[in-house]
Point group: C2
Chain length 201, copies 2
C-alpha cells in the first residue's frame, strides 16, 4: 500500500490533541493508545483505548472538524497514517469500505450509549468492576491471570469517572474480598464471577 506510511511512537507521545486539526487517521499496528477528552476543570475522561487493528481519528476526518479527543500512546506503538482525502475517496468509490467504516462508527456509537447509561445510573463500585471486566475482555489476561494492560490508579479513575482515591479504596476492598490481587499496577483477577456480580450486568 503505497499510500501508507508507518510511524513509531513511544509511551507518552501525543498523536493528536483535542481542538487541533488532523489531516488523516491512524491505523494501529501494535501498541495501545489512550483516547480521552479533557473536562472543563482539566480532568481527563478516558473514552476508549485503541489496540492493534483499530482505527483512530476518523471522526474528525469525516466531519472535517477539529479533534474532539486527545490520543496518547500508552504502550509503545506502530501506527500507519492514512491521509484524510484517501479515506474520503475510498468511502465514495468503494461501497464495502464505506459499509465497514459505517459499521465501525455505529459500533462505537452503541458502546458510547451503554457507557452513558452506566455512568449515569451505576455506582462507582459497579462501574469499576465493569471496567475491570471490559479490560479483561479487550486486552486479556496473561498466564498468571494478570490484566494485560498497565494503568495508573488515576487512569483507572479517569475511565470510571471518579476520584483516584475512590479507585484505590475500592481496589483494596476487592482485594479484601479475594476478588482480585494487586501488585503495583498488576491486577490479577481471581474471582471473575464475583466481579460480574459486582458489576451488576
Amino acid at each position: 500500500m503505497s499510500y501508507k506510511e508507518t510511524f513509531q511512537f513511544r509511551r507518552g507521545n501525543v498523536i493528536y490533541t483535542e481542538g487541533s486539526r488532523i489531516t488523516g487517521c491512524y491505523c494501529v499496528s501494535s501498541g495501545i493508545i489512550k483516547i480521552y477528552k479533557t473536562g472543563t476543570d482539566g480532568k481527563e475522561q478516558i473514552i476508549r483505548f485503541a489496540k492493534a487493528g483499530e482505527l483512530i481519528g476518523f471522526r474528525s476526518v469525516f466531519n472535517n472538524e477539529a479533534a474532539c479527543t486527545t490520543a496518547q500512546i500508552l504502550e509503545d506503538s506502530t501506527l500507519c497514517y492514512i491521509p484524510g482525502e484517501l479515506m474520503v475517496h475510498l468511502v465514495k468509490v468503494n461501497g464495502n469500505f464505506a459499509m465497514d467504516l459505517l459499521q465501525l462508527a455505529c459500533k462505537e456509537l452503541g458502546e458510547a450509549n451503554s457507557y452513558i447509561t452506566d455512568i449515569a445510573q451505576k455506582s462507582v463500585r459497579e462501574r469499576l468492576a465493569e471496567v475491570l471486566l471490559n479490560l479483561k475482555e479487550n486486552f486479556g489476561l496473561n498466564q498468571s491471570q494478570v490484566l494485560q494492560i498497565s494503568l495508573t490508579r488515576e487512569e483507572l479513575a479517569n475511565i470510571v469517572g471518579t476520584a483516584t482515591e475512590s479507585v484505590i479504596r475500592l481496589l483494596s476492598e476487592f482485594k479484601e474480598d479475594k476478588i482480585i490481587e494487586l501488585q503495583g499496577r498488576q491486577i490479577k483477577i481471581i474471582n471473575n464471577a464475583a466481579l460480574s456480580k459486582l458489576a451488576n450486568i
Copy 2:
C-alpha cells in the same frame, strides 16, 4: 420516492424496543421521538431526541444487531420508513449517501463523547443547566421564551442522569435565582447568561 412509506404515531407509541430486531430505519417528518436505554434497575436513560429531518434506527440496521435503545413518541409524529436493505444498497452504490451517513454517525459519536465526559465530571446542577441550554438549542423558545419541548420532571431527570427529586429541587433553585420561570411543564428561560455560567461550559 416509491420506497418510502409514511406512518403516523401518537404520543406514547413505541417505534422499536431495546433488544428487538428492526428491519429498517425511520426518518422523522414531524414530531419528537425520545430515544432511551433502560438501565439494569429499569430506569430510563434518555440518549437523545430526534426531530424533523433526523434519522433513527440506523445503528441497528448497519450493524445488523438488535436495537440497543427504545424509541418512543414524545409528540405526535409522522415518520417515513426506509427498509434496511435499501439503506445498505444506497451506501454501497452512492458514495455521497455513504459520506452523509458516516458524517451523521460521527456527529452522534462526538456528541456521545461529550455527554460521557459531562456526566462523569460535572455536578447535577451543572448538567441540568446544560441540558436546558441544549434543549433550547435544539427545540427553541416560543415568543414568550418558553422551551418548545414539554418534558416531565422524571424525563428531565432521565436526561441529566439523576433522581426526579433532585431535578425538582434544582429547578426551584433556578427559579429562586430568577434564571427561569416555571408553569407546570413550561420552562421559561429568563437569564440565559446565568444558565451558561451555571453550566460551566
